[in-house]
């Protein structure tokens, strides 16, 4: 598709706190809110801004592995739990590993495009702190091909991206690469400290660089080529946003400047049973971003900010290359030079991204959309960045598995 047949908007975003280690209120030994709590809080947070559930035509919920983390399947059934008025309305659950949230967005967008709905309540959720990380690693490994599990690392996905980091080190130099990864971590923490819902909001480390330098990757206890600061954390959380047509905005009384318009998207799938064609390239992201930019009719130079899927710092570095901000092998330098910092050439992950804000896997895609909506409509609070008038676009890239399922979406403020 080269052009959208109908205008699609997103508005009324809401994020719960990303709960897990790092938050003062998190105590793994005490009972904590469950899946239902997060779905309800996020859903109601959005409903309050759009005049209530009566205005909603459909519901979509993205989730990766509640069936194992929470022994709970059938999540679409929790959308009416958000509000009684959602009872008897069509609801869909989407799953595409960590891209489950963006697939929920796609589901809602396609309903609006198909003119079967004017307002879709979209939620993304994951509650992962129900088990120790060593068992959570088993669950998350489901984002890969199970036949590869036996030969994979105990921490399967850190292992996968450790291998990508190793390939990058071998090609371009480890010391060089880690300078960029170090800066990626620093940016993530500094941005998260500006966002009250971020898991690292209360991070008070005085010298982030020294903290990072003090953690040398150790394959005996973790993985060979990443330290724990290179990784996103285990998170519980949910996000919600309303996807609307123009009619939907009118129905809910939302002015266009309070919404973002989706001007392009790219949804791409890679064969999960095959190895990535090049470990130093995020090929699926490259294709999805290309498709989205093409549909929007813009280039990366028109983007004011991006939310990229930095489940690992090396994924952040590789994303800058896949998007075309840096030549292959130059991404680490691009990041080390602070081009992706909040006051840099292209601010990326302005509320901390997956490493700083948190990564409730099935919720991340929706959280990214909420962040871009906040930034483009001036609602990002202390984390607000300047959106230049000549570069009014924002972009989200949500990745499932090892560059297997990718959704890239491009937005601009609704009244522009």
């Amino acid at each position: 598709m080269s052009k959208l047949r109908r205008k699609i908007y997103m508005t009324a975003g809401y994020n719960t706190v990303s709960m897990g280690t790092g938050r003062k209120e998190f105590n793994p030994k005490k009972e904590r809110p469950g899946l239902e709590h997060y779905i309800k809080e996020a859903g109601q947070g959005t409903l309050k801004q759009i005049g209530g559930a009566k205005n909603v035509d459909e519901g979509a919920i993205g989730n990766f592995m509640a069936a194992r983390f929470n022994k709970q399947g059938h999540l679409a059934g929790f959308i009416p739990y958000i509000d009684e008025e959602l009872q008897w309305k069509p609801c869909t659950r989407t799953e595409g590993a960590c891209a489950s949230g963006a697939l929920a967005l796609m589901s809602g967008m396609k309903s609006v495009l198909a003119e079967t709905a004017e307002v879709v309540l979209t939620v993304g959720v994951e509650v992962q702190n129900t088990m120790k990380a060593i068992y959570g690693a088993d669950v998350l490994a489901g984002a890969g091909w199970f036949k590869n599990r036996k030969n994979g690392h105990a921490y399967f996905f850190p292992g996968q991206f450790s291998d990508r980091a190793k390939a990058y080190y071998d090609k371009y130099g480890m010391e060089y690469a880690r300078k960029g990864m170090r800066q990626w971590f620093i940016n993530a923490m500094e941005n998260a400290r500006l966002c009250p819902t971020a898991q690292e909001y209360e991070n008070k480390a005085a010298d982030l660089g020294a903290l990072y330098d003090g953690m040398i990757p150790n394959g005996k206890s973790f993985v060979d080529s990443l330290n724990v600061l290179d990784c996103s954390k285990v998170s519980d959380g949910a996000s919600a946003i309303a996807i609307m047509s123009e009619e939907g905005l009118k129905r809910c009384g939302i002015p266009k400047n309070e919404a973002v318009e989706v001007v392009g998207y790219g949804q791409v799938e890679r064969n999960i049973t095959k190895e990535p064609p090049d470990k130093t390239e995020l090929t699926t992201i490259k294709k999805a971003a290309h498709n989205a930019l093409e549909m929007a009719g813009i280039t990366i130079n028109d983007l004011a900010t991006i939310e990229v899927h930095d489940c690992f710092s090396i994924a952040g570095i590789l994303s800058t290359e896949a998007l075309g901000f840096a030549e292959p092998g130059k991404g680490a330098q691009f990041v080390a030079d602070k081009n992706t910092a909040r006051d840099g050439k292209i601010p990326i992950n302005t509320t901390g991204g997956l490493i700083g804000w948190g990564h409730p896997t099935g919720g991340t895609g929706v959280h990214q959309a909420v962040t871009i909506w906040e930034q483009l409509t001036g609602k990002a609070g202390a984390a607000q960045i300047n959106i230049p008038s000549d570069r009014p676009y924002g972009m989200t890239i949500n990745m499932g598995g090892d560059d297997v399922t990718v959704v890239a979406i491009i937005y601009k403020r609704g009244d522009l």
Partner: protein, 447 residues
């Protein structure tokens, strides 16, 4: 390593359900399981007898063991995936962890009779500090065991040569003294005698190394290094408190000495809290065991006897929480002090301000043990600055602290002079590693 593996094929832990025995059993079970999983040991049977007279204790032990092995497996899953790499049926971490727990538990045989040890090549002895009981058990096993087993005693106070002679073991016993809890504490005191076979000592060193323990040699004197220092240090604290009772009530004296020995000396806990942690009964007992072997010294406290006669014993519950002793605890923090006259506890809050005023303020450069001990590069300079201030302090607190510090220093030096320890470094290592002190007792800070 062949001898090492063979020696660990059949092992017995005596007193396995006790606090020390259960830890030794856990460590040994994991080590034996790791050996059994080596390709060259495939098909060999490894057997670890957990011997204890208490059926109830053994039931609790098996639960403890399962819980601890599970935690251990969760920690070393990265390595376990390699060990089980040829097991195609074990795919997820959970599969592998469950299998390892089974493999460890499958080695352990809980038993209540000593006959189980008749086929063991290694015997870990962790029964109570009673020479007659140890003698009976060890000699009975030795007489009935055709393998001429090696005995590893966890005694913390009885000289090894005394056990050797009493049980007629012909040098096949050495002291292998774990600290509590053995699974966590890294220190092990190794007490050898001239009669020990060289390969037995070598085995002990290898075993300690594989368990990642810090091995400190101690010579064969009652109490060895650890209790050699702790018992005398505790007695000093008790005597100082008794001295203070001429000026203040008993509960206030205990509070003040506890505070001085913790805060003013930058230790992890005060001396009365430490006595409670170890158990008043245990401290009294160890002193009693050590005392006959000491010359020109009376290691005995009437106060401990009095507390015991009043049923105040301290120690820990099976869940690790602290029982009340000299001090009463809430959430493992002292809140009251026992008064033997009224036979009840008096809240610290009632006299804390008064006592703190009498002791005077802590020197300005003071930092809590937790800060100092984990300050890596800055630790030494922090200690030098602090003790410089303590040295010139004019308060009651600094005066008691200096005296306490000097006594600790004297005890440490005497352990070297008396040849209990080979050198001052060994004394300091024991106190740093086994007692988590921020600095060794043999130092020049107040010189």
């Amino acid at each position: 390593m062949i001898i090492y593996d063979e020696k660990l094929q059949n092992v017995t832990v005596l007193g396995a359900a006790g606090k020390m025995g259960s830890g030794i059993l856990l460590l040994t079970a994991a080590e034996m399981a790791d050996l059994s999983l080596k390709p060259e040991n495939k098909g060999k049977t490894f057997c670890l007898n957990a011997m204890d007279v208490s059926q109830e204790g053994l039931a609790g032990l098996m639960k403890y063991l399962k819980d601890q092995v599970l935690k251990l497996a969760e920690k070393k899953t990265v390595a376990l995936r390699q060990i089980y790499r040829d097991r195609t049926d074990l795919i997820e971490n959970e599969d592998i962890i469950r299998e390892y727990v089974f493999d460890v538990m499958n080695i352990v045989r809980p038993v209540t009779t000593v006959e189980a040890a008749y086929n063991s090549t290694i015997i870990f002895e962790a029964v109570i500090e009673n020479l007659d009981l140890k003698k009976k058990l060890l000699s009975q096993i030795n007489e009935n065991n055709p393998t001429s087993p090696w005995f590893f005693s966890n005694t913390s106070s009885i000289p090894i040569h005394v056990l050797d002679e009493a049980a007629n073991l012909d040098g096949r016993i050495l002291g292998f003294h774990f600290y509590n809890p053995p699974a966590v504490q890294r220190l092990v005191e190794l007490i050898t005698t001239p009669k020990n076979p060289a390969e037995m000592v070598e085995f002990a060193k290898t075993y300690a190394k594989r368990l990642k323990k810090v091995l400190v040699p101690s010579n064969d004197f009652a109490g060895f290094i650890g209790n050699g220092h702790f018992m005398r240090d505790a007695l000093h604290g008790i005597h100082e408190a008794e001295r203070l009772t001429k000026e203040v009530p008993f509960v206030e004296a205990v509070y003040m000495l506890n505070k001085v020995s913790q805060d003013f000396l930058i230790r992890p806990m005060g001396i009365f809290q430490l006595i409670d942690y170890v158990g008043i009964e245990v401290v009294q007992f160890i002193m009693k065991v050590m005392n006959p072997y000491l010359k020109n010294e009376d290691l005995h406290s009437d106060l401990l006897d009095k507390m015991m006669s009043l049923g105040v014993k301290g120690g820990q519950r099976s869940d690790g929480s602290q029982k009340d002793g000299f001090l009463k605890y809430e959430k493992n923090k002292p809140v009251a002090v026992y008064d033997p006259d009224s036979k009840g506890y008096k809240q610290i809050s009632e006299f804390q301000v008064k006592c703190d005023e009498k002791l005077g303020p802590l020197p300005d450069s003071w930092k809590p043990w937790k800060v100092v001990n984990f300050s890596k590069d800055k630790k030494e300079s922090m200690l030098i600055n602090y003790f410089k201030e303590l040295k010139s302090g004019k308060t009651t607190g600094t005066e008691i602290a200096r005296k306490y510090h000097a006594r600790s220093n004297e005890i440490g030096n005497k352990l070297v002079i008396d040849k209990v320890a080979n050198n001052k470094e060994d004394v300091n290592t024991v106190m740093l590693t086994g007692f988590f002190h921020a600095y060794g007792p043999v130092n020049e800070y107040l010189s």
